[in-house]
């Protein structure tokens, strides 16, 4: 049974629908991500989980109890805010103790729990510091300590790393994950940074335009995006407009690209088959596009002409034109490749994905 479940949650602000009919489940002990571009409704969804915002419709259940209308202060979820929201008039100790004081914890218990929370975020002995004396990274840790000090039933993060600089972001990221796992906490983590979500989360829901598009493990999302918006949002992708051919058998789909008129085969479940004569999108990651110069031709191989090679350090992007079908390929070393060179482009059939949802 899921620890937290959202059922058909919607929320509008004025005429804009911020969150539309979102349903999701978070399991006990899971590190769950809400990923999407800014304005996609992920923060609003998190705020509704926290009780800071009320859904217009739908229900939120926690441990099988309906908490939809329970105010934030009675949910017992810890939350780490994007700007940390540390109380500027209180020192580090008082900030971390805030939630314990609200619960009327005894002095001894308070001291003990604050100390252990500060220990956990590697800020022991910072009790008496004023929060504005701390660096951004330290403030971040205090915000986390404050949230875990109340021993939350659920820990909520609203883009907590977005105010840190890049180098600090990566180290904080792994510490955060480690901390949550060690304490056996369940976390919901909002971010617009795909890399961050992939590195941290067990499962991720991708939201676009207020809708929940797809939920799955990072790899699954990346390699088999279910729809065009997810495919576009998660890294670079070659989106190929194609039409299904009638000759396809049960295990494989056969498609003809609208540009270039190439024939591509890919494994498709029968249930996913789209009607004939209706354009669909196929997707393949640039790093899965293979380039060969030896003229070898097999299934899903097209002739292409190299139009541009962009060197970007560890990898290079090669832009190709295959009889009008423009493709991008990612190669480690562009050795032996040059502009205007003819080559064979292979789109491995197990790497091609048929996008189910053509929205976006």
């Amino acid at each position: 049974m899921a620890l937290l479940s959202l059922k058909n949650i919607s929320r509008s602000f004025g005429t804009t629908k911020a969150v539309a009919d979102v349903s999701l489940e978070v399991q006990q002990g899971e590190f769950f991500g809400l990923l999407g571009p800014s304005g996609c409704g992920k923060t609003t969804t998190l705020r509704m989980i926290a009780g800071l915002e009320k859904p217009d419709s739908g229900t939120i259940q926690f441990q099988n109890a309906d908490v939809t209308n329970l105010p934030a202060e009675r949910r017992g979820f810890g939350m780490v805010f994007q700007n940390y929201a540390l109380f500027p008039h209180l020192n580090v100790f008082e900030n971390v103790a805030f939630g314990l004081r609200a619960r009327h914890a005894s002095k001894a218990e308070m001291g003990e729990r604050v100390a252990s929370a500060l220990e956990l975020v590697q800020l022991p002995g910072y009790d008496k510091r004023a929060v504005d004396e701390l660096s951004g990274g330290q403030q971040q840790r205090v915000a986390i300590a404050r949230a875990i000090a109340i021993q939350p039933a659920l820990l909520l993060f609203d883009e907590p790393l977005s105010n840190l600089d890049v180098s600090l972001r990566e180290s904080t990221r792994s510490e955060l994950r480690e901390l949550v796992t060690r304490l056996g906490l369940t976390a919901v983590y909002v971010t617009h940074d795909q890399e961050e979500a992939f590195a941290l989360c067990d499962r991720i829901s991708v939201m676009v335009g207020g809708h929940l598009m797809q939920t799955g493990e990072p790899r699954e999302l990346y390699e088999h995006p279910s729809d065009i918006a997810v495919a576009r949002f998660l890294g670079r992708n070659n989106l190929i407009k194609a039409m299904r051919l009638s000759s396809s058998d049960a295990s494989e789909g056969e498609f003809k690209t609208l540009e270039g008129g190439h024939t591509l085969r890919l494994p498709v479940k029968h249930s996913e088959l789209s009607p004939l004569n209706q354009p669909v999108f196929l997707a393949i990651r640039p790093e899965h596009v293979q380039l060969r110069t030896n003229g070898d031709s097999g299934p899903n191989s097209l002739r292409g002409n190299i139009r541009e090679i962009v060197f970007a350090g560890a990898t290079s992007t090669v832009r190709l034109d295959a009889a009008g079908l423009l493709l991008e390929a990612l190669v480690l070393q562009p050795d032996g490749l040059s502009i205007n060179q003819e080559c064979t482009v292979v789109l491995p059939h197990d790497r091609l994905t048929l996008l189910q949802n053509q929205r976006g």
């Binding site: 009780g51 800071l52 915002e53 202060e73 810890g78 939350m79 500027p88 008039h89 404050r146």
Partner: protein, 558 residues
């Protein structure tokens, strides 16, 4: 709606209904009634009198000229002191806003001592040039405009200065880079950007001038203005005249407010929050210009301080020692001793301090009620937009109305047993003045509290909520500690202004609540110049201490 919200709304509405809506409607209704029938007869009669028309024209004319003169003085000074660095700049900058905290009555008294026809300056001229009569008299239009410019130019100086500080220096640099001359930069880039500041200053100056009472009363001569006409009509017990003129004055003031705000709304300005290079003050390089700038700074600094210095000097004058001499001939501390030893004089201080404190504290408490309803919060607001607009408007009304109007409307509405207060008659009791002070100055406190609350990061309240703090804990442990410096600073400001209040007090005071300003006016009438000055000096000292404290609090907030 929660129970808490309901309580807040009830308190807020009660105050607004009793304090703002009912008295003002009552006055309007009274002005439109005769022998129980609705009619415009009062207006026809009042407006048929040339005295009244003259008063209307004078009030508006005086305000327009005051705005122009204050702009002519204030804006160039702001440019000079905000944009350039030279010896003496700081001295002036520190004193520039002094007239703003000087109670108008005290300033008027100081002007009489300094610039009056038997004042220090006229006397010295007379002796110096051996004149038979004083070289001028502090009377009529020139006197009023001179005094108004002295007391109100800071609106233009302060707001233009603030506007200049906000302007992104790179805009001027970009214009220069495109080949614009210095003059074109000022005219085409800086002035358009300053328009909101200038309009705000013009509005404040116009309204303050419309409401001006002390100066027209003490040296207006034959220049009749509306505030004074209302006062004399009430002295004559001509209620119809007083009430009708009150409505006319209120309408003019509100029309001005709407006019200025309309104009402000029709133009678009670059967001001040844009990231840009802050401008540094340029040092004046040329030696000659430097000397001139320094002289300007020193002259203006002296002009600013002289009235206060005169007041201090006269406060030490022995009674009767200053008749035909340039300066008082004998000095004493007797005036001060009298203030603190004579029970009647001490009572005046107790009255003013307690009434101002009551009004200020009530304003503070009530401000929290209304501001809670007004401010934006993370979890949605308690009331919707139309209601918030209406509340803001109702708070604004007593601020926009001259003190005379506020006092007359409360005095008329609660002058006899009525529907709202039953058999209780407010007029004639001690409480009339605290109530009037509250109504006049609560908008200041509301604005201070609102500004502090809006600066508060809504995430703090949410963070406290997510940590388990309920509404009251969030208010006392997060909101209040962060908001109180700004709120108390605003309250102190309201307190000190109430302390020197004269315009409204003179209309409704009773022996039981005689405030300082009334005491000053009566000492002046009895030619106890030293005593009047001593009252003024003590008032200035209290005000200065409060303002320093308020400044400290403001800095705490930042």
């Amino acid at each position: 709606m929660s129970k808490r919200a309901a309580v807040l709304i009830v308190i807020t509405l009660l105050v607004l209904i009793y304090g703002v809506i009912y008295p003002n409607l009552f006055v309007v209704a009274t002005s439109l009634q005769r022998d129980g029938a609705w009619t415009f007869a009062n207006y026809r009669e009042v407006l048929a009198q040339s005295v009244v028309l003259e008063a209307i024209v004078n009030s508006i004319g005086l305000s327009v000229f005051t705005v122009l003169l204050c702009a002519v003085v204030g804006v160039p000074l702001a440019f000079l002191f905000e944009r350039f660095e030279f010896p003496g700049r700081r001295v002036f900058a520190a004193l520039a806003a002094l007239p703003l905290v000087l109670p108008p009555l005290v300033g008027t008294v100081a002007f009489i001592f300094l610039y009056g026809e038997s004042g220090i300056l006229a006397h010295s001229m007379q002796t110096l040039f051996g004149l038979e009569t004083p070289p001028w008299s502090l009377q009529g239009w020139p006197a009023l405009l001179f005094f108004h410019t002295y007391t109100m130019y800071p609106f233009f100086y302060v707001l233009t200065g603030a506007g200049l500080r906000r302007i992104d220096a790179s805009l001027a640099e970009a214009a220069r880079g495109l080949g614009a001359s210095r003059m074109i930069v000022v005219r085409r880039v800086l002035l358009p950007q300053l328009t909101p500041s200038l309009i705000a200053a013009a509005l404040l100056t116009f309204m303050t001038s419309m409401a001006s009472f002390s100066a027209p009363q003490l040296f207006g001569g034959n220049v009749r203005v509306l505030t004074l006409e209302i006062f004399t009509a009430r002295q004559r017990s001509d209620v119809v005249m007083a009430v009708t003129e009150t409505v006319i004055l209120a309408v003019i003031s509100l029309a001005a407010l709407i006019f200025f705000q309309r104009y402000e709304g029709t133009r678009k300005f670059a967001a001040a929050a844009m990231k840009g290079a802050p401008r540094r003050r340029a040092a004046i390089a040329s030696g000659k210009t430097r000397v001139i700038a320094t002289i300007v700074a020193i002259v203006f600094a002296i002009l600013l301080v002289l009235p206060v210095a005169t007041l201090v000097l006269v406060s030490f004058a022995r009674e009767g020692s200053w008749t035909t001499q340039t300066l008082p001939s004998a000095y004493t501390v007797a005036n001060y001793v009298r203030l603190f030893s004579e029970p009647l004089a001490a009572e005046v201080f107790v009255n003013s301090l307690s009434m101002s404190a009551i009004a200020a504290v009530a304003s503070l408490l009530w401000s929290f009620c209304i501001v809670t309803l007004l401010v934006k919060r993370g979890r949605g607001r308690l009331i919707d937009k139309t209601w918030r607009r209406l509340l803001s408007l109702l708070v604004l009304i007593p601020w926009a109305l001259p003190g005379t109007v506020v006092a007359v409307s409360v005095a008329e509405a609660y002058g006899r047993p009525g529907s709202l207060l039953g058999s209780f008659v407010l007029v004639g009791t001690f409480w009339i003045l605290p109530v009037v002070y509250f109504l006049r100055f609560m908008p200041l406190v509301v604005r201070a509290v609102q500004a502090s609350m809006e600066q508060l990061d809504p995430a703090l309240d949410e963070a406290a909520g997510s940590l388990g703090a309920h509404a009251w804990q969030r208010f006392t442990r997060v909101t209040l500690p962060l908001v109180w410096p700004g709120a108390v600073a605003g309250t102190l400001l309201a307190f000190v202004i109430a302390l020197g209040e004269y315009v409204a007090s003179v209309l409704v005071f009773v022996p039981a609540n005689r405030p300082i300003s009334i005491a000053i006016a009566s000492e002046l009438r009895d030619f106890n110049l030293g005593a009047a000055a001593a009252y003024g000096v003590v008032l200035i000292v209290i005000i200065s201490i409060s303002m320093v404290a308020a400044g400290k609090l403001e800095r705490m907030r930042g």
